[in-house]
Amino acid sequence: MEEFYRKLADILEVPEVKPADVMGGFAEWDSLSILSVIAWLSSDYEIHLHASELWEISTAQNLQDLVVERRGQRR
């Protein structure tokens, strides 16, 4: 899961993302970053999220939980 947060940090152009970090607190958490996240999750985790779902995410941990939940639903 370290890779998950490393990739998220990459998209948000910050040195580090921790699970408790609030997504809205990142300067780069905007509609364009959300598109990058959607493409990343689709490519690496084969799940498809809508922008509206991502806007509702509070923390980085919430995002990870959502990814795990959706992957579980696929199986």
């Binding site: 509609s31 364009l32 598109l35 990058s36 493409a39 809508h50």
Partner: protein
């Protein structure tokens, strides 16, 4: 000694789904087809949906490797004495990514499928020893986004603009023997666009922006059939917009 008449084919890339599949089914009524795609199983499905399936051929090939087009397509034509009279480039890929996330590999992939593959197929079909100067019609399926900007679609917009630029140059270079045109669809309900159509906020916006609603693959297949036909004899070098009125809609509400 009687000279055997060549059997003429229409080559459709991206025939395994969406616009390419609809076009194949439509044109199969009157033409011999070469159905191109990456996925053999889906190509076989398209073949079975066509009229007279025994008259058509399949070309399984990944357009992400345009440098290998000639090595794959030329033998396919030579093996069965086939010639291509019309080429319709329906294959395409779209990746929704902000520019800062579009690395060179991603951009290259989009350009390869949407533009370089089309250019390479044209080049091969223009070679006398491959196609005996039988090509008379080239049609690129571009997009309304070749003329406009869209957030996170930089590489896609660029690839379609490149395709239309090539179209115009070829229309001039290859006239009068070969007509070359582009069709620019608006939003069409295909598997490529499925993710977008699954998002209710996008669907709502589309309903607002498209005076005639979103399109279907058959709407484009109809236009393709006309442009390839003798009824379009004098039509070349054109971007033909088929978009339900989207690009003329400046309504605020």
């Amino acid at each position: 000694m009687l000279k055997t008449q060549p059997i003429l084919y229409t080559l459709i890339t991206g025939a395994s789904s969406g616009i390419g599949r609809s076009t194949a089914v439509r044109l199969s009524r009157e033409r011999n087809l070469i159905l191109h795609g990456r996925n053999l199983e889906r190509l076989q499905e398209t073949l079975q949906m066509c009229s007279n399936p025994e008259r058509h051929a399949i070309w399984e090939f990944d357009l992400r490797n345009p440098g290998e087009v000639e090595g794959s397509l030329a033998p396919l034509l030579a093996a069965h004495g086939r010639s291509v009279e019309a080429f319709v480039h329906c294959a395409g890929m779209v990746t929704v990514l902000p520019m800062r996330s579009v690395d060179y590999r991603t951009a290259q992939e989009i350009m390869n499928v949407n533009f370089f593959a089309a250019a390479e197929i044209v080049r091969v079909l223009l070679k006398k020893k491959v196609n005996a100067q039988r090509l008379t019609n080239i049609l690129f399926i571009s997009s309304i986004w070749s003329r406009f900007g869209a957030r996170a679609h930089g590489a896609y917009c660029a690839s379609k603009a490149a395709l239309d630029g090539l179209m115009r140059a070829l229309a001039v270079e290859l006239a009068p023997s070969i007509r070359v045109n582009s069709i620019l669809p608006g939003a069409i309900r295909t598997s490529m666009a499925a993710q977008g159509f699954a998002d209710l906020s996008i669907v709502e916006k589309l309903e607002h922006d498209y005076p005639m609603g979103t399109g279907l693959p058959d709407d484009i297949a109809n236009a393709i059939e006309f442009v390839l036909s003798g009824k379009a004899r004098w039509l070349t070098g054109q971007q033909i917009v088929v978009d339900g009125g989207r690009t003329v809609n400046m309504s605020l509400k």
